[in-house]
């Protein structure tokens, strides 16, 4: 049977408005089949049909058999459940009594929905407050183990994450949805209050072009959001990254830095590593159209005294196993390059390791920042940039990054 889809022009909490809109559709020969993000109708509507929405006793549950019996005895039939909130009943019989013969009992029925809505709202508000608090705390609080705190340096990196297309769609969608929900909740509260005092509900705002546009925009935002999620999942293959054998973007390999031969974990240990190793994770931000991270670990094939691994030979007691993490960025504006590089450099810093920073010149690059651990010199960081391009590295091993600037610079200069 042919179906007709329509954007619902009424708030879902404007019950009289929604009921009369359905009655208008019936007058045009349309009978509702589904009401969710949009309304679906079939052309079997009969003019004069009355529709009434009843709050579900339990969210989303079908109406109880005794309720159906009672309603049918009075001429009302069940159509379907709307979302998790309502049961839709209808009657073609003009003499069928109204479902509610007094305002108070109607108010009691709606109270359940209002209570449910209030609980959800409080929970949602608490969740947002907690999220904001966590972000603020992450930026403001310093760990007692942090020997060189510099939280403000992380702000550019945070902006890069915020300017991810998924977040940029999700955030306005959430704000938009929150605004609509607040208004609808006000309508529901006002209706409940009036009914519980035995007064008629406030007049329905009814169908409006504004609500129709709100619903259109929400739908329009949800579709690209879904596609982006799907695309991101497909592009990453799986959430733990792309194996380096399948990754085509340029990166510095661990072997380029090491003089010692290296093998992967499986080769030396005879089993797969617990956590994935040697993978790339592409990302995207409107502030950084090219952005990917590569993580690598290697293991010396020669046996150590103990069957353990360390980025440091530690006097030959452990098997030598260096690691190299790197982030490659092409930012939107050249002015962002250095703050971004410094931010990712800060992101790579280990909290309990004191680093010594120095800036060196390298032909063809705008800046080169090197940092190495004071004392042991196991952990080293490097940030390089030119124009809109930057690369940031974190290395743990026995080599000196300053001796390998040619290899590091190559992915920017190439």
């Amino acid at each position: 049977m042919k179906t007709v889809r329509k954007i619902i022009p009424v708030s879902l909490y404007d019950i009289p408005g929604l009921e009369s809109w359905l009655e208008e559709q019936a007058a045009q020969g349309l009978f509702p089949q589904r009401l969710d993000a949009w309304a679906t109708f079939v052309p079997t509507g009969v003019p004069g049909t009355r529709f009434r929405l009843e709050v579900c006793g339990r969210p989303g549950a079908a109406p109880e058999p005794d309720r159906l019996e009672l309603y049918q005895a009075q001429g009302w039939d069940y159509a379907f459940t709307v979302g998790r909130a309502y049961h839709l009943f209808y009657t073609l019989d003009p003499s069928a009594p109204e479902l509610y013969s007094d305002y108070e009992s109607r108010g009691m029925n709606l109270e359940q929905l209002e209570r449910r809505e209030r609980r959800q709202r409080i929970l949602r508000d608490l969740m947002w407050a907690a999220l904001v608090l966590v972000v603020v705390l992450l930026l403001l609080l310093r760990s007692r183990f942090d020997v060189q705190p510099n939280s403000p340096a992380l702000i550019p990196m945070l902006l890069f994450y915020i300017c991810h297309p998924i977040l940029l769609i999700l955030l306005p969608l959430v704000i938009f949805y929150w605004r609509i929900h607040r208004r609808d909740a006000r309508t529901l509260r006002a209706t409940c209050r009036a009914l519980s005092m035995g007064m008629p509900p406030p007049s329905s705002p009814g169908p409006s072009r504004a609500i129709q546009w709100e619903n259109r925009i929400t739908l329009a935002l949800i579709i690209p959001l879904f596609l982006l999620f799907l695309g991101q999942w497909y592009y990453l293959n799986r959430w733990d990254g792309i194996p380096l054998s399948d990754f085509r973007q340029p990166y510095v390999t661990l072997e380029q830095l090491e003089n010692e031969p290296l093998a992967d974990f499986e080769t030396v240990a005879g089993r797969a590593p617990r956590e994935p190793e040697n993978f790339a994770r592409p990302s995207f931000s409107f502030l950084a159209p090219i952005w990917y991270e590569v993580e690598q670990s290697g293991y010396s094939p020669s046996e150590g005294d103990y069957h353990g691994f360390s980025p440091d030979p530690e006097g030959g007691n452990y098997r030598y196993s260096p690691s190299l993490d790197q982030t490659r960025l092409r930012v939107l504006f050249p002015a962002l390059t250095r703050p971004a590089a410094e931010s990712f450099l800060e992101g790579y810093r280990l909290l309990n390791v004191r680093m010594r920073y120095e800036e060196v010149d390298y032909p063809g690059l705008d800046f080169v920042i090197l940092a190495c651990e004071e004392g042991d010199r196991v952990w080293q960081l490097a940030a390089l940039g030119r124009g809109r391009d930057a690369a940031v590295f974190r290395y743990a091993g026995q080599e000196d990054l300053a001796d390998h600037l040619d290899a590091l610079a190559e992915i920017i200069l190439a």
Binding site: Q74, E98, S105
Partner: protein, 102 residues
């Protein structure tokens, strides 16, 4: 001890009254109220269902039988006390009105 949530509304009063002599199911309650009030109080099915759920919740009635889709209810001592309380209140209201009106 009757109901704690204030006076009964008119439909509440008649629904509770319907159980005083015997157990009742939904359609019997509607017929009883219609007969008793000579059609003055027209009990909608939504109103009746909501009130039965509320009374069950408050312990004023209890379910006695489920026969297919038909459920039968009985008034509890708490329900009788609530009805008595409401009756006394209405008597007092009527008496006050009569007294002033003459």
């Amino acid at each position: 001890m009757g109901r704690e949530k204030g006076p009964l509304t008119e439909p509440m009063y008649y629904v509770l009254m319907s159980f005083l002599r015997r157990d009742m199911c939904g359609t019997e309650i509607t017929e009883f109220v219609d007969r008793k009030t000579r059609g003055r109080v027209n009990l909608g099915p939504g109103t009746l269902y909501t009130l039965l759920a509320r009374f069950l919740d408050e312990g004023l009635i209890k379910e006695t039988q489920v026969d297919g889709r038909k459920r039968t209810y009985r008034i509890t001592p708490k329900g009788r006390a609530a009805f008595q309380e409401e009756l006394d209140r209405l008597r007092a209201c009527a008496a006050d009105g009569e007294e002033e009106f003459q």
